[in-house]
Each structure stands twice: as C-alpha cells, then as structure tokens.
C-alpha cells in the first residue's frame, strides 16, 4: 500500500499483480470480504486499487464531498500513473464513480466493467431506485445484499466492525440525497465510448437487475450478464463466476499500453 498526494488529497493506493492495467474501484461495504476477489484480479491484471477518501479513515478535505470529486480524483490518478488502455472496473458505489469518470472522459479507457453499479435512477418520483437499507432491520437489509448466507457480524474483529460503521458513514457522506444516484447522469450515458460489461447478481435486492438492462440500452457498446446465485456482491458470493465472466469479456481483451 502506498499513499500518494493527488490534488491535495491523500490517497491510499494498492498496486499488485502483473498483466494489463486495471483500475478497480471498490464498493461501499465489507472491504475485508472483498480481499480474496481483489487478490485474484491481480492474477490477471496489474491491479491499481485505491481506497476512497473517507472510507480510508481520513476526513476528506471540506470541499471534497461529491461523487464528482471522486471521479475527477481517479481521472487525475490515471493521468498521474500515465496509464493507457485501462480496464476500469467498479462495483456498486465504485461502479457509480466509474460511470461518472466514463461520461467525462473515456480517453484512457479500453473497457468498463460494472458490477451492479449505483448512480443512475430510472423511474418516477415515487419509484425507489435502490432499496432504502437504512430503513430496514439489519437482517432484512443483509438479505437484500446477499443471495445466500449473510455476513456474521459476531465474528468480525473490532477493526472490521468499525470499518462497517465508517463505510456506511462515507456512503451517506457522498450519496445520502439524492439517494445513491446523480439525477443528471442518465442523460449523458451515451458518452461512454468504451465497451461496457455489466455484471449483475440475479438476486440483487438492493439494485434491481432490471436497472442493468436499462443501463445497457443507454450506452453505445454495453452488454449485461446476469450471474445466478448471487445478490448485490457476486464478487463475494460467486467469485469464480465473476472472474470467469470478466476474463471472457472486454476487460480482458486489453493489450497493455497499447495506446489504441
């Protein structure tokens, strides 16, 4: 793990593995349960995995509080690293950031992998884009996120439990209202020039898989793949299937530093 200073923001960046470059943007919950998946990504890609400001335990600068800020930060990161033809993979909240980056500039992107991204809401004012987890009992909220057994908080360490609380805090910080989406994002999805691979757990109770279909229709080169037996985090529940899908999709066809 290295810490770099980017536009006045301290950013923790994990770099590991070898192969073509991939920037991986993590989702909102359960960093430690994602660690095995992240390690396996590094078997195929040179993986750049930053920790979002706030989620890292630091207080972000007072003028850094929107998902736009995260998008610009990571566009700066791509410039800073000098990466070309990057596979950009984002899961859930990270997928939202990836979408915000891609509508601004796809210049350095070879492909965009999105695992059940937040960030876009279709439907009217009475329709919920995403399940309001904070209004549900803890156990019901967990069942929205997982198709199978849910994480057992009782066996989490103190540090892991504090991370759970902090992750929720910073998801709220960036995305409480409008809830988990940017109302302006949908109309610019046509600007995503890179090929897009959408992956969605069939039993996602947080972000309905139907959202994946609607997103795919709005982007010029997108396809949706539904992963059975998984909820909102197929990378935790079905890591083999998720990795196999990514390996067979546009994220894996990137040639290192091809410049395209």
């Amino acid at each position: 793990m290295e810490t770099i200073d980017l536009a006045g923001v301290q950013l923790d960046l994990d770099v590991q593995g070898s192969g073509p470059p991939m920037l991986y943007l993590h989702p909102e919950h359960y960093a430690h349960l994602h660690a095995p998946f992240v390690d396996r990504l590094a078997e195929r890609w040179t993986l750049y995995a930053p920790r979002h400001p706030g989620f890292d335990g630091r207080t972000p600068p007072s003028d850094f509080r929107r998902v736009d800020d995260l998008a610009y930060l990571y566009l700066d990161l791509l410039d800073h690293l000098g990466l070309e033809s990057v596979a950009l993979l984002g899961a859930s909240f990270g997928g939202w950031i990836a979408l915000e980056m891609a509508v601004r500039s796809s210049a350095r992107l070879k492909a965009l992998g999105l695992i059940a991204p937040l960030g876009v809401k279709f439907g009217g004012r009475s329709a919920r884009g995403f399940t309001d987890l904070s209004a549900l009992p803890e156990a019901d909220a967990a069942h929205c996120l997982f198709a199978g057994p849910t994480p057992d908080h009782a066996i989490f360490s103190d540090a892991e439990m504090i991370a759970v609380a902090r992750d929720r805090q910073y998801l709220a910080y960036y995305a409480w209202k409008p809830y988990l989406h940017n109302p302006a994002l949908a109309r610019w999805l046509h600007r995503v020039a890179a090929p897009v691979h959408l992956l969605w757990g069939a039993q996602d109770g947080y972000a309905d898989p139907a959202l994946g279909g609607a997103l795919a229709e709005r982007m010029p080169a997108a396809r949706l793949e539904i992963l059975p037996g998984a909820g909102h985090y197929p990378q935790i529940e079905r890591p083999d299937d998720t990795l196999a899908a990514l390996a067979a999709g546009p994220c894996a066809t990137v040639a290192p530093n091809s410049g395209d």
Binding site: S134, A135, A141, I162, A165, R168, Q169, K177
Partner: protein, 384 residues
C-alpha cells in the same frame, strides 16, 4: 431555580396497538383525528394553566410518532404566545440540522418573540437519531449543518440594516432580511440540549444554556463539568442559570399518589426506546466505535443507577427511575428533598425541566400534579 412544564402531547391511544414500534414506520391510520383534537386542546389547556401557576412552558417536536404529536414545535408556541401572558416559552427544540430552510426558522422565532412580547427562549437541538429518517437529512454531515444553521439564524436575527448574502455549504440565500426583528435584544436566549461531555463543552464555549435530558446521577456531573470547562475556555461564567436538567415529576397528597402519577408519566421514558433498531444508528450520526459496538451487540437501552448497577429503560420501575435521578416522585416534601439532593450532587441547576404530564396521566391528574407542585414545591425551589 426556574421550573418549566414539558409534555410531548403524546398520542397514547395508539400505543397498545402499535406495540414495540412507535416511530417512523407506523401508519397514520391508527391516529383518530377526533381523539387527537381533544388531546391537543387538553395539552394546550395544561400549558395555559402554567401561566397562572408560575411554571414556565417547554415544548419540543418529534416526527412520525405516536409518542409525540407535536410535529411542529412552533405551532403550540404560537398558540401559547397569545394565550399566556406571564411565563416564558421555551422551544427545545428546533432541530435546525433537519430543517432545510434556516431563514424560515429565524422568521418563526422572531415572530413568536414579538407576539409573546419577548418571552421566547430559543432552543436549537441536534435531534434524536430516529429523526434523521423522517427529515431525510444527511446524518454524516449533520453537525456541520447544525452549526451553519446556528450561525445563519443568529446573524439573520441580529442584522437590522437590510439584506446580507449567505452562500454556505448547506444554506444559500442571496438576500437574507428577516422581518420582524425579535422583541428581545440582541435575540432570544439560546438553549441547546447536550448528551455527552463533548457536546456540553462545545456549548459551554458559546455560553448558552444547556439542557441535559434524563442523564441522572451517573452521567450529569461529567456533562456539567465539561460545560464549565468549555465556558471558561470561551470566556463565559458558568453561572447556575446556564444549567438545565430534564426529569419527570409526580407529586401527590400522599406518597402513593405522587408515585402513581410518576409511574404513569414514566411511560414517556418507557415508550421513547420503542423505535425499530435500524433507526437508532444512522450512518455517521454517532461515533463509529459506538455504532460498531451496537451493531455487534444490539440490546435494550440501559440506565445506570446512582449506586452502581443498571436497569432497562423500557421496563424501569418508579424506584429505579428515582434512584437514577430521572424521576422525582412522592409528596411535596419528598419531591423537594429529591430535587435538592440532585441539585447538590451536580453542583447546582438553574432550570428544572419538569415533565409534569406523560403517558396516560389524565387531565385531572395533570392539573392536580402541576397545581400541587406549584403550591408546595416551587416556592421552596426558588431558594435553591
């Protein structure tokens, strides 16, 4: 010591039907507006009586709940501003981090202050955690919004030479120019509720009145000490009139009668925790260490007793609440001694915020409770 009568205007007829969840997700079909109208008038009558008894008035607000039907604190304040003539009117309070229009808050307080001819005491509160959901306010930025609203409201109430510009993080107005100006100069006194030494110290630095709510023998002294420390750091004198404490009071002609009244009022305390667990820890509202602990070990709210041990808030007895310093109950003599003891224990309180009605306590009992208190206890408290 000044005394204030507080009631949450509970809609208790629905409590039994709603069971263990009285907040946020409860459907309003269980509210009968005809019954509700009678209750509103009844509670207002009890407050109006306070004007004759020499007991000041305190109102608050909660949302989406059968425990408190005051969803807009300035509405009873407005009625009482005209209906009463002498006593002071405390709104404790206005949840300014959950109010999206801070200038409107300044307007409401200013208008109330003028109508009441300068009897308003202006409370600003963080609001309970379960208030976040009804307001849909961002819990992760709640306190920065609170202080920005505070700064803006005070500037709006004290600026008298035309519009000013405000472009903050949470509030933006280009022409702030509040009419009327408040009756009191420079503005009505400011109160804030505190629940921890940290928040007490912050309010102490400002020199405002603090209200510590039901914090009892165990927690109140450290909160008051933190206030004194903050006040000294801020160059303010932490005089007794800076310290408010909220407790439940049941007084009767006999011990049994006073304790029975307290027992009924205590249903306020017993119903307060009856909110679904997920509404207690909005993300970022509480320190992550505390949230983490509660997520891992969810359990009923416990209250520390004076001499060690603890009891469950939702089922506590009169004895337990009295022992903890949260209720004062019995004859006027007993109640006076209990209040005096508590007052001495915490180093002096200037304001007793007395919940003189709560739960199923009837109108007649409430009137008797307030009247007996004002006749037999209040004069003796003035000496403290």
């Amino acid at each position: 010591m000044q005394v204030w009568h507080f009631s949450e205007m509970a809609y208790h007829p629905a409590w039994e039907e709603l069971g263990n969840s009285l907040r946020n997700v409860v459907p309003s079909r269980v509210y009968d507006p005809v019954v509700g109208a009678d209750l509103y008038h009844r509670y207002l009558d009890e407050w109006a009586l306070c004007d004759e008894l020499g007991i000041n008035i305190m109102v608050n607000e909660h949302h989406t709940t059968a425990t408190c039907a005051t969803s807009v604190c300035t509405i009873p304040m407005a009625i009482l501003a005209r209906e009463t003539k002498k006593v002071r009117l405390l709104c404790l309070g206005m949840p300014i981090a959950n109010r999206m229009d801070a200038v409107r808050v300044a307007e409401e307080y200013a208008m109330l202050d003028v109508i009441s001819r300068g009897r308003v005491e202006m409370g600003f509160v963080k609001g309970a955690p379960f208030e976040v959901s009804p307001a849909n306010s961002n819990p992760a930025t709640l306190m920065e919004r609170f202080w920005e609203a505070h700064d803006l409201i005070l500037k709006a109430l004290t600026t008298h030479d035309g519009p000013f510009n405000w472009e903050g993080e949470h509030f933006q107005y280009r022409q702030v120019n509040v009419w009327p100006r408040p009756y009191q100069t420079p503005h009505p006194p400011v109160w804030m509720t505190v629940a921890s030494p940290g928040s007490a110290e912050a309010v102490g630095k400002k020199g405002y009145v603090i209200a510590s709510l039901n914090t009892g023998y165990a927690r109140t002294p450290t909160i008051f000490d933190a206030y004194r420390k903050g006040a000294e750091a801020g160059g303010h004198k932490p005089t007794k009139d800076r310290f408010g404490y909220l407790a439940l009071v049941g007084v009767g002609e006999t011990e049994e009668e006073g304790r029975r009244r307290a027992h009924q009022i205590l249903d306020y305390s017993r119903t307060t925790p009856r909110a679904a667990a997920q509404f207690w820890f909005p993300p970022g509202y509480t320190a992550n260490e505390v949230t983490a602990q509660r997520l891992q070990n969810p359990g009923p709210l416990k209250i520390p007793l004076r001499d060690g041990g603890e009891f469950t808030m939702q089922t506590g007895s009169v004895d337990e609440f009295v022992n903890a310093g949260i209720a004062f109950a019995g004859t006027p003599d007993t109640v006076f001694e209990q209040i005096k003891d508590f007052n001495d224990h915490v180093g002096g309180i200037g304001h007793l915020l007395m919940m003189g009605q709560g739960g199923h306590l009837s109108h007649d009992d409430t009137v008797a409770n307030l009247t007996l208190f004002s006749r037999e206890v209040l004069p003796r408290l003035r000496e403290l």
